[in-house]
Amino acid sequence: MPDMLRLDPLAFLRNPRNKKTVTVPSETRYIRKVSTRILDALAGFALDEGRVFDVRLCVEEAVRNAIVHGNHSDRRLSVRVTYWIEDSKLFIEVEDEGSGYDHNALADPTTGAHITKNSGRGVYLIKKLMDRVSYNDTGNRIMMVKNLS
């Protein structure tokens, strides 16, 4: 093994050409599997608890939305999560097999009667806790970026 790899166990993640992908069936019991995989990859960064919490929450909210709203919990459909680290930033993409949705059309869950609703806070939290969030045109893939430094 080259010395560089021995010195930097996270080198494979720092190289964007080496993106990691985890694919899970559309069942909520797999949500934790995805977040655990990504948090394990971040172990070497000695992130504070708050940032780890944020990453976990956003990954789990995005995967849950993909499973429940994107794929309508159809076990025949998968959710694909791709992640990598580049320039001290964590990049995460979560894609479902659904027809997509317009995230801009979602109601602000902090205003009016929406604050007492039992749903609608997941995407809002992602947008607040991640440093950058975007969607593909179809609306079935969310891309999130979290600064690690």
Binding site: T28, R29, I31, R32, E49, G50, F53, R56, L57, E60, E61, R64, P109, T110, I115, T116, K117, N118, S119, R121, G122, Y124, L125, K128, L129
Partner: protein, 110 residues
């Protein structure tokens, strides 16, 4: 995840231990069913041992609050960790809930 119920000075204090997420939320709701059907008037939920809350966990607490308000019950949350508290601030749920720093204060001032 577990929920323990304690009666203190005529109040019901719920101690939630673990994570409040999409997988544990149905069990948490079930733990509160008896409370809601009995129309318990004053309840404190102590969240000191809650290490993680997602939008499902927040939604569960909102549902419990709405149910209690429907019969005139009063709910207080206590002992939130800084991170969990920050989620209430971000989502503005701090305006909806009565959040007290610790259980003793929540009991003595109810």
């Amino acid at each position: 995840m577990s929920v323990k119920i304690e009666n203190k000075n005529g109040l019901s204090v719920f101690h939630v231990d673990g994570e409040m997420d999409i997988n544990s939320s149905p069990g948490i709701k079930k733990s509160f069913d008896k409370l809601l059907s009995a129309r318990t008037p004053k309840v404190i939920i102590n969240l000191s041992k809650v290490t993680y809350v997602d939008s499902s966990g927040l939604a569960t607490l909102v549902e419990i609050l709405k149910n209690m308000r429907s019969y005139g019950g009063k709910l207080r949350l206590s002992n939130l960790s800084a991170k969990v508290r920050s989620l209430f601030e971000i989502t503005k749920l701090e305006k909806l809930f009565e959040i007290i720093a610790n259980e003793e204060e929540a009991v003595s001032t109810f």
